[in-house]
Every structure is written in C-alpha cells, then in structure tokens.
C-alpha cells in the first residue's frame, strides 16, 4: 500500500514537474523573497549528477540522477533545501524554432477559419516545411555548446528526490517537443526557501536520447504470453488428436439448454443481453460465441430471441452471429434482422428500455453475458419480477455479487470465458481450458515459492517476475 502510494505520488510529481517549470518561470524569483524569513546559508550543491537515455521508451527523454545535497536531510526539519531545479543548455536557435512553430500554428488557425484568405494554405505549408527543416538541424545547434545558447530551467523536483526525467513530447508539432540524438548538457541547482540562495552542481553531458526497439522491462509478460500460447496450442492439438478431456460440470451452463427448452414449452421469448462492453472487450467476444450457440438452439426450437444492444458494432457482429446460427440450423428464412437491435449508448437509458421490454414481453429466460456495471442489479431484479429464469456471467468483479444474489445461475469471472468452450463441447475449444488450468497451477506453485522466497529474502526469484514500465 505504502509502496503504491509512493509510486503514485512520484508519478504525479513527474507528470506535474514540466508544467511547474513554466509556473516557476512566470513568477520572477524576487516575489518569493519574504522579508520575515531569516537569512539562510548557501546550501551545499548536489553531487554525482549523471544522466542517461530513458530506458525502454520511445525516446525524447533523459533520466537524470544525483546525490542529495548535504543540506537536504529527509525527516530533518532544519534542512534548508526545498527543491531542486533542473537546467538544460538550450541553443539560442531554439527560440527561432519556437517562433516558426507559433507562426505555423497561427497560419494553420487562419487557414481553418471560415473566412480564410487566398493563399492561406500555401503560407501554412511553407511554414510547416521550414519548421521541419529547422528540427532536422537540432543536433548541430546542440553541438555548438557552449556557444550560442544558455541555460534554461526545465523543471523542478521536491527535496528528498534524487531523480528527474527530462521528458518531452514525441509530437514534432507540440510545444514541448524534445529532439532525439542531440548532445544535451544538464545542471541541477539546490534551491532554498529564498529562490536566490542556491548552489549549482557540476555540468553533466553530453547525453543523447533515443528510442529502443525492445522493452526489456516487459520480458516476463512476453514469456508469459509465449508459454501460455504454446500450452494452448499444445492442448488444442492434443484435443484435435482425439484425446478425451474431462471437464467438470458447471451448473450455469447446463441451465442454458434447459432454459431454451422451457421457453419453447411456455411459448415465451428468450432475452439475451450482451452487456455494456464494446466489441473490443474480450468478455463481449466470449459472449458472442455463447449467443451463437443459444441462437442455433433457438432456431431449432423455433423460439423467439430478443437481443437489445448497447453498442452499434456489437449490434452488427451480433446480427452476423445470429444470422449464421439460423443458417446452420437450416432455417435461414426464420431469421429477422430486428432480432438484434440497437437501443442507445447511454447506460441507464439502455436499462430503462430493456427493463420495459422485460415486463412487456415476459421472456421465459434472461441471459446476461459480458461486461456489466451498475445496471446489473437493475436488470436482474426486473427479470426476477417478470418471473424469468436468469443466467448471468460477467468478469466485472464489483457486479458479480449482485448477479449471485438476483440470478438463478451465475458464471463467476473466468467461468464466462470457459462457457463458450463448454457449450460447444468441441474438443478443440476444451483444449484451451486445460491450458488455463496448467497456468493456474503454475501460478499457485510460483506464488508459494515466491512467498517463501520473500520470507527468506531470496530477492532474485521475486525479481524474475517484476514488470517495469
């Protein structure tokens, strides 16, 4: 918790610092001088300033680090250093470049306005070309150090911190663009409560920034994905070879078939809710597979199916799924385009409409599969009023309790993803369940070893799983 807090705070600080730099610039240092503050001795400068290209990034960033000033002792209220100001040597041509950029922005705005004069577009394009040409020359400008340039405050770090990331934008048209492959030089000032009382460190440089082609901090994830992918392929292959795989029965899934039968007997429709996710949520994609099975069964029994949707893409994919299912069942003529229809993209308006549908159509069965948020209980309770059998499945942890309370069957978290494999009883799909089980077993084993390792201080083992960045 504390660690998390600390990282959060540091993160917030890092984001805020570049902006603070401008803040500091705007207010001249003199206004900070307060008469009643007692005289402060000049603090000791920071030592061992060093910098390197930001690791595992897209470039445009330099990571600086230093040793605390002797007058900055964390926890000691008598220490005088309040913050560290970071300076970079900036060539004077940078001002010209910025001026061209501003001129470009202005020309761009003029061109976009309703009453753009003749030739506005050409003027803008010229400025743009000129600006990009200037950017190309940045390495030369920086190489002219120490001629034709001066030190510029680029940000500040609170006392007690020993690092600062000089991070610029990668967008060439942004005002805080930081060019790659330039020889940067840095200096850090230890600043006291009186901004004029400060001391500068030695100058560090040159250092260049550049982007990397491989993020070494994410190796554990890569290994995880590769191993898990191979396991899945292996078990799918095994299943394809005809190996019989056992799967434990899941009540919620067995209920689906019964529910469709019940609906047919009662002559009432089945309501299938795909949830509030978009088609880019994997939960919704899993739900499509289940919808396909349900629709096929529905087509065979010639029951009515109602699928109100929340997202237009989900609607389009859903229509495709249901149409194919009717085709597979050999009843393409029974398919109606409006089986899957769009309601609205507003959470509670959607719920209002679906709730109304439930009480008017009185479906025999309601199936909720996918992503659900606060509306879960609104839907499930209304469904209970309508007397429908309800089957739910979601991976949203906060909503599972409500479904458990209000529905007859609930697929908890991972079971939703297993459901599509279960319903088909196709060996290929079941193969991946086996892979998931192996992965869980591996997690239990690694977790146990890791806990032991933490207790015996075998940090090397824990570090194997650390993901940075």
């Amino acid at each position: 918790m504390k660690y998390k807090l600390f990282m959060l705070a540091i993160g917030v600080l890092l984001c805020a610092l570049p902006l603070l730099a401008q803040e500091v610039e705007e207010a001249p240092p003199d206004s900070m001088v307060v008469g009643s503050v007692p005289a402060i001795p000049t603090p000791a400068p920071v030592t061992q300033l060093s910098g390197e290209d930001g690791k595992n990034d897209h470039g445009h960033a330099v990571m600086l680090s230093w040793e605390l000033s002797a007058d900055d002792r964390p926890g000691d209220t008598t220490s005088t250093v309040l913050s560290y100001e970071v300076f970079r040597w900036v060539p004077s041509m940078a001002d010209t470049v910025e001026a061209v950029r501003l001129a470009y922005e202005e020309a761009d705005a003029i061109m976009r306005s309703d009453d753009a004069p003749e030739g506005a577009r050409d003027k803008r394009n010229d400025l743009r070309t000129r600006y990009f040409d200037l950017l190309e020359q940045y390495p030369e400008f920086y190489a002219s150090y120490p001629e034709n340039g001066n030190w510029k405050n680029i940000g500040a770090s609170p006392s007690g911190s020993t690092t600062y990331e000089d991070q610029g934008s990668k967008e060439r048209l942004a005002s805080d663009y930081l060019p790659d492959f330039c020889d940067f030089r840095y200096r850090v000032d230890a600043v006291t409560a009186v901004a004029t009382i400060r001391s500068s460190s030695e100058i560090f440089g040159p250092v260049q920034s550049s982007g990397q082609y491989f993020n070494t901090g994410r190796v554990p994830i890569l290994i995880g994905v590769l191993v898990f992918g191979l396991l899945t392929l292996l078990f799918v292959q095994q299943a394809r070879g005809g190996k019989d795989l056992y799967v434990r029965p899941l009540a919620g899934i067995e209920a689906v078939d019964d529910a469709i039968g019940r609906a047919t007997e009662m002559g009432r429709p089945i309501l299938y809710v795909l949830g509030l996710g978009s088609a880019s949520d994997v939960a919704t994609i899993a739900s499509f597979t289940i919808l396909g099975r349900v629709a096929k069964r529905v087509a065979e029994y010639q029951t009515e199916l109602i699928v109100p949707t929340y997202d237009p893409i989900v609607m389009s994919v859903g229509q495709e799924v249901v149409r194919s299912a009717y085709l597979d069942a050999g009843r393409p003529d029974d398919y109606k385009e409006d089986t899957v229809y769009f309601v609205t993209q507003s959470q509670f308006a959607y719920v209002a409409a679906v709730n109304g549908t439930m009480l008017r159509e009185l479906p025999a069965t309601n199936v909720y599969m996918g992503k659900f948020f606060a509306e879960s209980l609104l839907l499930a309770e209304t469904g209970a009023v309508a007397g429908s059998i309800q089957i739910a499945g979601t991976d949203e942890i906060a909503q599972i309790p409500f479904f458990i309370v209000a529905c007859d069957y609930t697929l908890i978290g991972e079971e939703l993803y297993a459901a599509s494999a279960y319903l088909g009883r196709e060996p290929i799909l079941l193969g991946s369940l086996k892979a998931q089980d192996w992965a869980k077993a591996a997690i239990i084993v690694f977790g146990t070893i890791g806990l032991l390792a933490a207790n015996f201080n075998w940090t090397f083992f824990t570090e194997l799983f650390r993901v940075t960045n």
């Binding site: 902006l19 206004s31 309040l82 609170p158 006392s159």
Partner: protein, 292 residues
C-alpha cells in the same frame, strides 16, 4: 397462513412502498437520530474542542461538486465548530473545483455565525467573521504534492497572496504564521487521491497532526494509517459527518440525510431478519410434517 408465511411470499412492491413511505416520512419529519460516535471521529472533535482560543486549523477543501453531498456537511460542521470556539481557520484548495466549494462554505457559515446559538448547553453570541482575522483562504494551486511540500516551508511560497488578492502579510492572522509548525491541526476533506499526498508528503515529512474527511467508499482504504498513527482521526462519508454534527450539537445536512439512511437501513435489515425467521419456521414445520 400465519404472518411469517405471508412474509415469505411478500410481493416486493410492499417493500418498495414501505421503503418510500419510510424514507419520505423520515425526510419530512424532523426526528432525533441517536448517532453513536465512533472513536475515529471523536478524536478529531476532541482535538478541536481542546484547542485554545486563537489557535489555527488548516482545512484543505480538496473535493468537487461530485462529492459535495458527503463532504460538504463535514466542512460546515468543522468550520462552525472552530469559529464558535474562536479558532482561526486557514483554507486551501488543491482540487480544481475546490475554491467554489470553499467560497460557498465560507459565506454560508459566516451567515450562520452572525446568529446567537446554543450548542451543547453553551451559549455562543453571534459575531461577524472577518477575513484575515478569523480565516484566510489561500486559494487553489495546481500540482498538489509540490504545494504541500512548499507549504511546509512557508505558506507564502505557493501562495504569496490569498484567494482575494491580499498579500498574506497584510492579514493579521497570518503575521507570524509561516508553516505547518504554526498550525495546530491539518484537516484534509477530500474525495480523491490528494489524501495520499497529504499523508506521504505532508504528514510523514513535517509531522503535523492530520485528520481526514473522506467519502464513504474511500474510508476502508485509509484505516491502516489510523493504526500506524499517521492519521489522528477519520470522518467517513455521511455517517462521519453526522457524527461530527452530533458531537457539535449542530444538526445539519448530514443528520438530515442520516435520518433517511437510517430508516432505509432499518427497513432492509428488518426484512432480511423476517425472511430468515420465516425460513426457520418453515423448515421446522416441514420437519414436523415429515416426522408425522
């Protein structure tokens, strides 16, 4: 069919009706809710209660209109308590929409202070609240972590002048008031992660007494700090606000809301208990019938 059997098969609409009637009635009728004060909010009250006249409390209004319902009552109760005790208050606001909240609170509470009131049997004469004497509103500055750190050196660093543009040294109460060392209590009323910064940048560095006013959903997350002593007291959600109002004997919005909250709660729990008793009786009856 006895009562419990009926209850077991009760239409939910009776529950709804019951809930609506009870809620609307408890909103309309001003009845007394005995509020049990929990130690974590009692501690804050006691601390303020024991402050001497002329002490200074810093209240950080770090919430926006979204969390107003839960957090505004806390601010109202605390500030009124302080001012009635002639304790001075410094307001800051490290969330963007905070100044509006603070401004509104200051105006409303000043109006209330103009009236004679009796709280907990003590009579307080109405008095005028003067900017610079009774309070100072520093205003809003972005990058809260840096502001919190800078205020540890001197309030004048981040806020050379107050929200209304007066230089701090021109305000009588700020003369000689420089940093957290001159403040007796810091209260952070917040609906977001600014609280984390107050703990890790403010309290753990400058070691002042910190009290928190939080939304109900956040409360469980900050209990560990109570145990470690970093936080002196916590007011959690509407309940915490109501407790503070109760201790001050100054019923306000929180106790108003508490009446409904309480009524609804009792109704829900009543129905749960009845349902379970009904279940038990039914089971016993089935067993008896099965035995025969």
């Amino acid at each position: 069919m006895d009562l419990f059997e009926k209850l077991m098969k009760l239409d939910r609409r009776w529950i709804f009706l019951f809930l609506i009637v009870v809620c609307v009635l408890s909103y309309a009728i001003d009845f007394y809710v005995p509020i049990l004060v929990e130690p974590e909010s009692q501690k804050i009250y006691d601390y303020v209660e024991n402050l001497e006249e002329g002490s200074i409390v810093l209240i950080a209004i770090d919430y926006d209109p979204n969390n107003m319902a839960e957090l505004h009552p806390m601010t109202y109760a605390m500030v009124e308590h302080c001012w009635r005790k002639k304790v001075k208050v410094i307001f800051t606001s490290l969330s963007q929409n905070g100044p509006g909240m603070a401004d509104q609170a200051i105006r409303d509470i000043s109006d209330s202070l103009a009236l004679d009131r009796t709280y907990n049997g003590v009579e307080f004469k109405g008095r005028e609240i003067v900017n610079g004497v009774d309070y100072c509103f520093l205003g809003y500055k972005p990058y809260y972590a840096l502001v919190i750190l800078a205020m540890g050196q001197d309030f004048r660093l981040p806020f050379p002048s107050d929200y209304y543009g007066n230089p701090l040294d021109s305000l009588p109460m700020m003369v000689g008031t420089h940093n957290y060392g001159d403040v007796d209590l810091v209260v952070d009323v917040s609906g977001g992660n600014i609280t984390d910064a107050w703990i890790s940048y403010g309290q753990s560095r400058f070691n002042f007494t910190l009290a928190l006013g939080l939304t109900g959903v956040m409360t469980a997350q900050y209990y560990p700090y109570l145990g470690s002593g970093q936080v002196h007291g916590i007011m959690g959600g509407l309940l915490g606000a109501a407790q503070y109002e109760q201790m001050c004997d100054n019923a306000g919005l929180a106790i108003d809301g508490m009446r409904i909250q309480l009524a609804a709660h009792v109704v829900i729990i009543f129905f749960i208990v009845m349902g379970n008793i009904g279940l038990l009786l039914e089971r016993r009856r089935l067993k008896r019938e099965g035995g025969i």
